[in-house]
Amino acid sequence: MADSAFAAGFALRQRSPAAARHSALVRVTHWVNTLSFFGLVISGFAILLAHPRFYWGETGNVGTPSLFDLPLPFVLTGQTGWGRSLHFLAAWVCVLNGLLYVVSGFAARHFREGQAAYNSAQRLAYMVVVFGLSPVMVWTGLAMSPAVTSVFPVLATWLGGQQSARTIHFAGADALFLFLLVHVTEVFRAGFVRHVRSMITGRL
């Protein structure tokens, strides 16, 4: 039972093959998310190349033992100003866009009724990304901020420290990137042109 006209319209569109498969809001937030995600991946990789070494706990530097060292060069040391600026700009867009998507998604029962076309593994992966990995990325990102942890120290201490937060942030980014690869592969297998067109125009 839809409890608002908007939700009813949304549900109807989901079930009628001739009508739009995705609402305009889902389509717009999808592409804004695509853009901001690419911004985050590119800038995140640039920041990584300033120090591709990871630690556990509060501190870590070239003179202390690492948790793991990536086989990447320290090539962007002192040159990641643009990477940081792009990362935070993209993060703001990604978070605000994501909030709009989640809030409207709940209003339209998108997460309960809009999933009929997907199998349970797809649904699970999707839910893990939206409600698991994304909040973890925001949390660990903020836990690296000395300004934010001055207000909410637990953001860092619950994870074991600032460097632990950085390491989890990196692991979460890898998981999200893996999800992206699987997601794009699935779209290719299901018919790339048709599905991309559907996500742009709303019609299959």
Partner: protein
């Protein structure tokens, strides 16, 4: 598109634009806009600075640590200036060095290291992260910047404190950050005199921001109401290297 929808969309758009304009005015009025707010990245910088300023409005304290957590090895990032002035001052154990305090203050001052050490001191064990990703914990002792500012008598219209080093480095912080109890002019590190590699004779400690705001080898502090007419006009040497003025994250 129906006429009704067109009008609704138009009204919503106009409300959005004027809402943004009002928000921008209010943000500027309450000091929530950083000096490097221009350009596409400026949007992100402004959102971050504004949001974090609101979050820290109650003067939150940076996390402090136990002595046992002090990092043994800390890489030297930024070696002592090679210029003749610094070498001469260093050879004389900084006896001839002075900290100049000027700008929008009632009583400009020229202070020796001995005078600074006779001021009330504060010791804190804080975490410092480099924007590259590495970090360390160290103990710092120094005089709170707020003490010197109160001594010099800051004028009401002051908005920023700018600090200059004996090399070409310089930076600035806003007044709430300058008056924050953990903002120190440090002359000791881990209980010992500050070594030249780590900023002798005096360095800034701003533990709620990243490492690069903690300028070493200080020589001058200027209180100002605008950053526009100081060097690049963006409040810091960092924008010359592509880095943002505000470094709370």
């Amino acid at each position: 598109m129906t006429r009704r929808k067109l009008i609704t969309t138009g009204l919503a758009g106009a409300a959005g634009v004027s809402g943004l304009a009002i928000a921008a005015r209010l943000a500027a009025r309450y000091g929530l806009v950083p000096p490097d707010s221009g350009g596409i990245y400026g949007v992100g910088e402004t959102l971050t600075y504004g949001a974090q300023k609101l979050l820290m409005a109650r003067h939150s304290l940076a996390r402090e640590f136990d002595r046992s957590q002090i990092t043994n090895f800390v890489p030297v990032d930024g070696h002592p200036p090679q210029n003749e002035t610094y070498q001469r001052l260093r050879a004389g154990k900084f006896a001839e060095w002075r900290l100049k305090i000027d700008g929008l203050v009632a009583r400009p001052a020229l202070l020796s290291l001995a005078q600074l050490k006779s001021c009330p001191r504060r010791t804190q064990i804080t975490h410092q992260a480099c924007e590259e990703g590495w970090s360390f914990i160290a103990e710092w002792t120094g005089v709170p910047l707020s003490f010197l500012l109160n001594m010099a008598g800051v004028q009401a219209r002051a908005r920023y404190v700018v600090y200059f080093a004996l090399d070409d480095s310089w930076d600035s912080i806003d007044m709430p950050e300058a008056l924050h109890p953990q903002t120190l002019l440090a002359y000791e590190r881990n209980g010992e005199e500050l070594p030249p590699d780590y900023g002798a004779p005096l360095r800034m400690k701003v533990p709620r921001q990243l490492g690069y705001k903690n300028v070493k080898f200080l020589s001058r502090i200027t209180v100002t109401d605008t950053l526009k007419n100081i060097r690049n006009g963006q409040g810091s040497i960092s924008p010359d290297y592509g880095y943002s003025w505000y470094a709370g994250i």
